[in-house]
Symmetry: C2
DNA sequence: TTTGCCTTTTGAACCGGTTTAAACGCCATC
DNA sequence: GATGGCGTTTAAACCGGTTCAAAAGGCAAA
């Protein structure tokens, strides 16, 4: 009649065996007679018993949870279309295994390290996802020191003991440039992301090499910061050049949409006077006017792959292989058009 | 020399006391001599001891974590500016208390209930946030049944045993309408959210009563779905009316920005031909062209308040009071202007 | 000196699982 | 009938904390 959830002792009593046997049966350990296993599982079923995560956690020293640390630079977090879909992908793997996702939001800078430290010291998680990799990222060494398994989202530039799940941004970026060149553009500029991010520089070097490959030179590469406000500013600087570009490639959609607004506010018509391309294919990209030409990745699969990889590591596998996802792809819409005469 | 983290027994041994005393000292229980407390804390400090969450969890039957279930309707989740900021606010409270935030992403519909069930059965959290309340929300009864403490974000329409943290959307919505009426608009329409959401209908009834208060009648109230695609469709329907509105009020920024794109694609100039207003003041609202007139709430404070309230409940308080946050406020930008002649 | 009371401290049980060494039952073998 | 071996099951220790009844210590009153 009690509302308490049953414990392993209740099941053992009901099945007429010892606690140890119940544990064996539950975990599929060999050495128990099949008839006993059946009896135990039946008893567990009747009682609606589910082993306590807490007790298991204590005795096997596992948290049955993975962690994701996100920096709370409001701009980085706030309308980034990557994380929600990534998290959904992660969850699709975790929920099947009965694991939980622990989210840690920290303010950018110093506190970030503290975020990982807390997660490790509190032993809240069995491993973490390392996102938004930076050059010579100090977090890699930190996690090694903390002994916390990790998976890096994209490949770090230094040496790393952790498996990497990568999604190559470069083919998409190159395709954007080629698309613009086909349209007759010769004066192409880029608004890049902050150069300390690995994926930001990957996109800008891809941009530069694609432009060079066509025998051209970038009009300019402005360092943006992935925020809409930064996109506006960079766009204004580009448009104020003595010989402004006829096409601008942005490192993400947020900056691109903001840049689109800035261009229109300056009296330009997109794409007649200026072509604009983004990166992410966020929800709004399709619906702004004109629809934004952009590059689409698959953050959901990214999340799935990252979770699977991290779990291999957590399960004790050594030599977990890197995973390479299908590269990002060009999505052409109306914001890019023929170069003005 | 061991790399193992110290346990309470190590501290007890070093301080020359029993485990129980260390526990008392750590938790500030009365009954220990001050000198003993100091000695114990010093020993703990020297060893760098931090009590194991897992062990505590098991013995006190608490998870030291709160849960947030989000439906993975990709559109609802994906570029919703509310959650990231809300979560940041929640974390600001949790991190100070050493609690964790467990995120559960479920697909919309049936699975949602399973999400809460899992969180409760796995005893992963001590309480949950109930967001995106629906009319006669079945989750309230479910949580009561599961015995899981909760806080509702906004006030449910049925009876609820849980405290509510509310942020009144209505004053902002009313202010939008009054602003438009001052500008001379008489033909005003709304693109609402799905009518099963409490906050969606709150916004639409506020809209309707504000229009009525001015002696006018809404041109139409279109049911949107909070997605950009839905915003586009609803906008097209409104513009196709025999006597289309001169101003459209949207229930969120995503629909508004998409509607802005649709209006421009239809050859209209905003705000000369059509005024547009959103809701949320998302990052892009300021930077699209023209800048979006919208309504600003404070999801970070919402998160803080919700976490504090839920923690009171988790700490065993009864009669936890509801919290009323400052209402949403009008932000006027360029997307609203004088009604066309 | 004994008694009693109050403050401080301890030891052991407990939370609910996992793990391992040892015990058990049974049958075949010598 | 004792011995050995094998498959099965158990009892108890353990994970690292919390909690509480009881013991110990100190001091004043009788």
């Amino acid at each position: 009649m009690s509302k308490q959830r049953p414990t392993i002792a209740d099941v053992a009593h009901r099945a007429g065996v010892s606690k140890g046997s119940v544990s064996f049966a539950l975990n599929g350990r060999p050495g128990l007679a099949q008839s006993t296993v059946d009896k135990i599982l039946a008893a567990a079923d009747e009682l609606g018993w589910r082993p306590s995560n807490r007790a298991r956690s204590l005795s096997v020293s596992k948290a049955f949870a993975l962690g994701l640390v996100i920096t709370r630079d409001p701009a980085v977090l706030s309308s980034d279309p990557f994380f929600p879909a990534f998290i959904a992908g992660v969850e699709s793997v975790l929920s099947a295994r009965g694991q939980a996702l622990v989210l840690q939001v920290v303010t950018a800078g110093e506190d970030e390290e503290a975020g990982y430290r807390r997660l490790a010291q509190d032993a809240r998680v069995d491993g973490v996802f390392l996102s938004d990799l930076r050059h010579d990222d100090p977090r890699i060494g930190l996690l090694v020191e903390l002994g916390l398994p990790a998976v890096t989202l994209n490949r770090p530039d230094g040496t790393s003991p952790f498996p990497a799940v990568t999604l190559d941004d470069r083919p998409g970026t190159i395709a954007v440039v080629e698309h613009l060149i086909e349209l007759g553009h010769t004066r192409i500029a880029q608004v890049a992301g902050p150069p300390d991010f690995v994926h930001a520089t990957a996109r800008s070097t891809a941009f530069e090499s694609a432009v060079s490959a066509a025998g051209l030179r970038p009009v300019a590469v402005e360092a943006g910061d992935f925020t809409a406000a930064g996109g506006i500013e960079a766009t204004r600087r580009l448009l104020a050049l003595p010989e402004p570009p006829t096409a601008i490639v942005y490192a993400n959609d947020r900056m691109a949409i903001a840049g689109l607004g800035a261009a229109q506010a300056a009296g330009l018509t997109v794409p007649d006077d200026l072509s604009i391309a983004g990166f992410d294919d966020s929800e709004l990209a399709e619906y702004v006017h004109p629809g934004l030409t952009t590059v689409r990745a698959d953050p959901f699969r990214f999340g799935e792959a990252a979770a699977q990889t991290l779990n291999q590591l957590v399960d004790g596998a050594t030599d977990v292989p890197d995973v390479e996802l299908p590269p990002a792809q060009l999505v052409v819409r109306r914001s890019t058009g023929a170069a003005p005469a």
